[in-house]
């Protein structure tokens, strides 16, 4: 068990990703390590500036540790000494393919999803189409909270009823017009229109 994520002396550790060896700082995640050697792991809910959320599950990879393999989210899994990582193992590919099909029913227009759909030769989704394009990656919510410290966007509800809402009552909502930084983060592009809707009562005033 890895006891610490303390970055006091930034020890160096070695691991293997897709048969490529790499030395990185202790505390880095698998995703960060992969990026360094140019291995692309698809992500939707990841952003360098904010803490990993682990919700989109596209970044799942297979790791091998003490002879046992396990599927983990690479955006959050801290790299360990001697770890064997496979970013495109058969298990991972199967999961990702099903996941992409689920995304196609939800939001088919994202470039990453499109690219993956082409890769897995998925032209249509067997699942029922959803009317709501938001994939609840939470980038807007987390960016607003962690980077800007505003909390003008939040989650409401839970389970299948969960959604992203603007909080017009939030004292920070007045900054939104000047900030707008979250607009470009949204991987679906639905977010800006939601913002417009949330502002209607304000405009009417």
């Amino acid at each position: 068990m890895n006891d610490k994520k303390v970055d006091t002396n930034r020890k160096k550790i070695n691991l293997t990703i897709d048969d490529k060896k790499i030395e990185i700082n202790d505390g880095d995640t698998i995703l960060q390590a992969a990026k360094k050697i140019g291995i692309h792991i698809p992500t939707l809910c990841y952003n360098e500036k904010i803490k990993p959320h682990g919700a989109c599950r596209l970044c799942l990879v297979e790791i091998e540790k003490r002879g046992r393999s396990k599927i983990v989210a690479s955006c959050a899994y801290p790299a360990e000494e001697g770890l064997m990582v496979k970013t495109e193992s058969p298990g991972v590919e199967k999961i990702r393919k099903n996941l992409v099909e689920l995304y196609l029913a939800l939001f088919p227009f994202n470039p990453e999803i499109k690219k993956l759909a082409r890769k897995y030769k998925l032209t249509r989704s067997r699942f029922k189409k959803e009317n709501n394009y938001c994939i609840l990656c939470g980038l807007c919510v987390r960016y607003c909270r962690e980077v800007k410290g505003y909390n003008a966007v939040g989650f409401a509800g839970r389970g299948t009823d969960k959604k992203v809402v603007f909080i017009p009552e939030s004292s920070y909502f007045k900054y939104c017009e000047k900030c707008m930084e979250c607009m470009n983060i949204c991987p679906t592009g639905v977010f800006p229109s939601n913002y417009g809707l949330a502002r209607i009562p304000q405009i009417n005033k």
Partner: protein, 637 residues
């Protein structure tokens, strides 16, 4: 109670226990009235006041001659309210307020009220609880302690040797020795995961950061399950004692009890217990003069099933929304407020004082090699005897259902048993001899879970059952990760389709693909275990799915879209009762002539079947309706 009541040392505790025992022995009579959730619903509180009234009426002045206790759940909820009269251990069932004068006067004379006793198959009365079949096949090491303990009185717990395990640990054992003993006992977490408790404690103890926290997980949210409630409500001190032993072992001075808000009596009893223990000096600084200090806070949950998951629970205590987080660094290393946190289930903690008192070998002597000790199940559904049952691990499901549960209600045919709550799966008839332990149940595709056990008879449609539990999980999912949220949503669409008779051939493959995705890719255990119900029903009852999809038939006649109500012309006497009862006026017909149901109007509520006099039994459910409105399939039901 006054401050003088403080127990300052181990000797004081023993003296106090002895004194209380003497007091209790000198009493002529003692009544134990079950105040568990089941019996309380049957107004067992009235029985308590009725007995007090009788004491007053009979002018019994010496306060200690008769002891009346309101205890925790006795388990046999089906037969509540339960009253036990000591010293003769006479056990009365289904006691009403009106029975109390007779029970009381006969008890004074040392006699028995025969009509309130349990009757066996041949009608012979049984006096003692332990001789009744429901109890005879159980091994009640946790639940039996309830019977002589008033759940609101710490003295009763101390009298039975309570807090002496804590005293033993503080006086004689080092934290490492405690952990070693728990490890040796083989105790595994009773909340569902089955992780070895001793190892969890060790990891938390070895974690470098300070302070450390210890949490009781009493967020019991499975439908129909109330094991933790039974313990925490009936014998809260046993959990507190276990918690403190755990705290001493891992090196923590602060504990939390995360309890459901929906359990008001549990919260009340728990708070009373903590207050009393604090007044006795058993919680606070320098417990029993040992130098060890500990404090407990009760945190009420806000109604979320997923908060029972360890990382969601710690987030909830921190004050955020109870959402699971990525757990690649264990809670035992970085949990509550980023500090090492140990989290165990109520039942796990309740076992600890017993292990310390009787030794690890005693605990190992029960159960199987990999699953030691006993486990409490909440046996509900279509079984004759429902209630809380405590059995040694390794007992077969058949024994639980037929010996303890008494078989299926109305002598119908057994179909399946669902173990482990909504996250568990169903186990069919052919696997009934499966020994109940952590590993065997997992192998069968289900899980131990926290101990829910829902028995289903032939009238349950497995597609419907799977839909019900999936709906529950979809509502209770936090909605954070895509496989769980979207996967469950899509699964529900598929199930709704199948239940409406619009199922497609590809649906079964789709369900399997989605199940794989949820199991492998979900963030927390809610998502990874959600497919259990789908996969087990698909594995053991595939023909039911196929009947729905290919023949528009619901073999159990449960899915309302696939059944039609029909009146048998030969049986109907034209009494007109069903015409009056039908809420939508779908039944037409003249008096004394056979009636007919207009299937266009009928909403399939089933009121007419219930209303039709038994001597006629003219209304039937038929299934196999194809789109043109012609009834296919079974001719007779």
């Amino acid at each position: 109670m006054t401050v003088d009541n403080k127990i300052n040392s181990f000797q004081d505790l023993q003296k106090k226990a002895k004194k209380l025992q003497q007091q209790s022995d000198s009493a002529d009579l003692a009544f134990s009235i079950c105040s568990g959730p089941g019996c309380k619903a049957y107004n067992s509180e009235d029985l308590y006041s009725a007995i007090l009234e009788e004491i007053k009426k009979n002018n019994i002045k010496e306060k200690d001659r008769i002891i009346v206790r309101r205890t925790g759940c006795h388990g046999y909820c089906e037969m509540g309210p339960i009253v036990i009269v000591y010293p003769k251990d006479i056990c009365y069932f289904r006691v009403k307020k009106e029975d109390i004068p007779e029970v009381f006067s006969k008890a004074l004379k040392g006699e028995v009220v025969e009509r309130l006793l349990y009757k066996d198959d041949r009608g012979n009365p049984i006096i003692k609880e332990s001789d009744i079949p429901f109890y005879k096949f159980q091994k009640r090491i946790l639940l039996n302690n309830h019977l002589k303990i008033d759940s609101k009185n710490i003295d009763d717990y101390i009298m039975g040797g309570g807090y002496q395990s804590l005293a033993k640990v503080l006086r004689e054992m080092s934290p490492e020795e405690v952990i070693e003993e728990v490890k040796k006992s083989g105790l595994r977490g009773r909340g569902g995961g089955g992780f070895p408790t001793g190892i969890k404690w060790e990891t938390t103890r070895n974690a470098k950061s300070e302070p450390k926290y210890i949490i009781v997980n009493a967020d019991e949210g499975d439908p129909g399950a109330y094991m933790d409630r039974g313990i925490l409500e009936g014998n809260p001190h046993s959990v507190l004692e276990g918690l403190m032993i755990g705290a001493y072992a891992i090196g923590s001075n602060m504990g939390f009890v995360y309890v459901r808000q929906e359990y008001p009596i549990t919260v009340e009893n728990l708070n009373i217990a903590i207050d009393q223990a604090r007044e006795y000096g058993l919680i606070g600084k320098n417990i029993l003069g040992s130098g060890f200090g500990f404090d407990i806070k009760v945190h009420k949950g806000a109604g979320s099933y997923v908060s029972g998951e360890s990382s969601a629970l710690t987030t909830a205590i921190e004050g955020s929304v109870g959402e699971p987080r990525l757990k690649y660094i264990h809670t035992s290393v970085s949990g509550l407020l980023g500090k090492p946190t140990n989290l165990n289930n109520v039942e796990t903690f309740a076992n600890i004082p017993l292990i310390i008192r009787n030794g690890a070998d005693w605990f190992r002597s029960m159960g199987t090699k990999t699953s030691t000790g006993t486990k409490i199940f909440s046996l509900v559904g279509k079984v004759k005897n429902t209630g809380l049952v405590e059995v040694p691990m390794g007992i077969s499901l058949r024994d639980i259902i037929y010996k303890i549960g008494g078989g299926i209600k109305d002598d119908k045919k057994f179909k399946a048993v669902q173990t482990g709550g909504p996250s568990g799966g169903v186990i069919p008839e052919q696997l009934l001899d499966l020994p109940v332990d952590f590993d065997e149940l997992t192998k069968a595709g289900s899980m131990m879970g926290s101990g829910g056990m829902v028995v289903m008879d032939e009238c349950s449609c497995m597609v419907n059952v799977a839909h019900y539990f999936l709906k529950f999980l979809a509502d209770e999912s936090c909605g954070k990760c895509v496989p769980c949220r979207e996967g469950l949503r899509q699964m529900l669409y598929i199930y709704e389709r199948i239940m409406e008779g619009k199922g497609r051939e590809e649906d079964l493959t789709l369900l399997e693909d989605l199940s794989m995705l949820l199991r492998e890719a979900s963030l927390c255990a809610l998502g990874t275990t959600a497919p259990n119900i789908v996969l087990t029903t698909l594995k053991y009852f595939k023909e039911e799915y196929e009947a729905h999809i290919y023949y528009n038939m619901c073999p159990a006649k449960m899915c309302s879209q696939l059944i039609t109500y029909v009146i048998d012309k030969n049986k109907c006497a034209g009494c007109g009762i069903c015409i009056k009862i039908c809420p939508v006026d779908a039944i037409k017909g003249e008096s004394k002539k056979p009636h007919t149901i207009d299937t266009e109007i009928c909403i399939k509520c089933g009121s007419c079947i219930e209303a039709c006099p038994e001597k006629y039994s003219a209304i039937e459910k038929k299934t196999g309706l194809v789109k043109e409105g012609v009834i296919q399939g079974e001719k007779e039901s």
